[in-house]
């Protein structure tokens, strides 16, 4: 399984663009899609945190945490930008982090980014099987808005 650091090393433009979109509002923000026990889908916003070479989420006691615990399958999609339609998506498998030092380090980075916590979260790391960055011209640039430039990466 690839970590965020592997994406940064193999595809720095994708990782750099993705990091900017995720942190555009201060705390990390994105959508998290998970797979329910009946194989249907669920989607909710959450606060990803990139630290120590990984991308993580602190997930409270909720249906999406049950999904991640049961099967781990996820997709992360960025929130929209104000002036352009750039998109960033990751997909792969999430796994709960149980190492106390790693949990503490992630929580520290999460708090420092300005995210709020209910103190009952579990920490999950999102391993990356595929990443996609779509880069558009700004809406007011007068340049064509379609098609975007697609940058993609898949774990080998």
């Amino acid at each position: 399984m690839a970590r965020w650091a592997d994406l940064e090393a193999a595809a720095p433009e994708i990782a750099g663009g993705g990091r900017k979109i995720i942190y555009q509002h201060g705390p990390g923000l994105a959508y998290l899609a998970t797979v329910r026990a009946d194989d249907g889908l669920r989607i909710h916003p959450f606060c990803p945190v990139i630290t120590g070479g990984g991308i993580y989420g602190l997930i409270n006691n909720s249906p999406k945490r049950r999904d991640l615990t049961a099967n781990g399958r996820y997709a992360i999609h960025s929130f929209p930008l104000e002036d352009r339609d750039d998109e960033f998506m990751l997909a792969g498998i999430a796994k709960r982090v149980t190492d106390p030092a790693e949990v503490i380090a992630v929580k520290k980075a999460y708090d420092e980014a300005g995210a709020t916590s209910g103190e009952d979260e579990w920490t999950f790391e999102f391993s990356i099987e595929r990443a996609l960055l779509s880069v558009y011209n700004p809406r007011d640039s007068g340049l064509p808005l379609w098609p975007p430039r697609y940058l993609s990466w898949r774990r080998r």
Partner: protein, 157 residues
């Protein structure tokens, strides 16, 4: 397949709350999750249209999400974020592809012809299995607490 219009008849307060966010004008973004061929999820933006009380999306036929919807037909749709606003909803259910004809023209009219001008824009009606609307009290604090509206009423998980 239960239509959005049927949900709105049964749960008008919930439907109104969702439509305030969704708008359904073909110009407001929401996020559509689909099922990839390996069973994992995929997410992309779409611009839903509400026409004659039902819910539709145009999806370009060269996209992966179009292939997902043809193969699997299940989706989840989440409202676009409004930073600082403590309200959101999501819908899940099956899709049904809509053939060229009167319904497609009605949907195009409902979005002022902004969408659906091209043959490669396939039209899907979004059916509804569950709806969850969340309004957060004390948003952005450690005391944030959700208030839910759900359909069906016994929805859990």
């Amino acid at each position: 397949m239960t239509s959005w219009g049927e949900v709105a008849e049964q749960a008008p307060e919930l439907a109104d709350a969702c439509l305030r966010l969704l708008r359904g004008d073909g110009a407001t973004t929401a996020y559509l999750a689909t099922v990839r061929n390996d069973g994992g999820p995929r997410v992309h933006p779409v611009m839903p249209v509400v026409a004659a009380g039902n819910l539709y999306v145009f999806v370009v036929t060269m996209s992966w999400k179009y292939q997902d919807l043809l193969r699997d037909g299940r989706y989840a749709l989440h409202s676009s974020p409004s930073i600082g606003d403590a309200e959101e909803f999501y819908i899940t259910g099956p899709v049904r592809q809509v053939a060229v004809g009167e319904t497609r023209e009605m949907v195009r009219a409902a979005c002022d012809q902004q969408l659906g001008a091209h043959d490669f824009e396939a039209l899907f009606e979004l059916g509804v299995d569950r709806v969850l609307h969340t309004r957060w009290a004390n948003w952005g604090t450690r005391d944030a607490w959700p208030h839910y509206l759900k359909w069906p009423g016994d929805l859990s998980g």
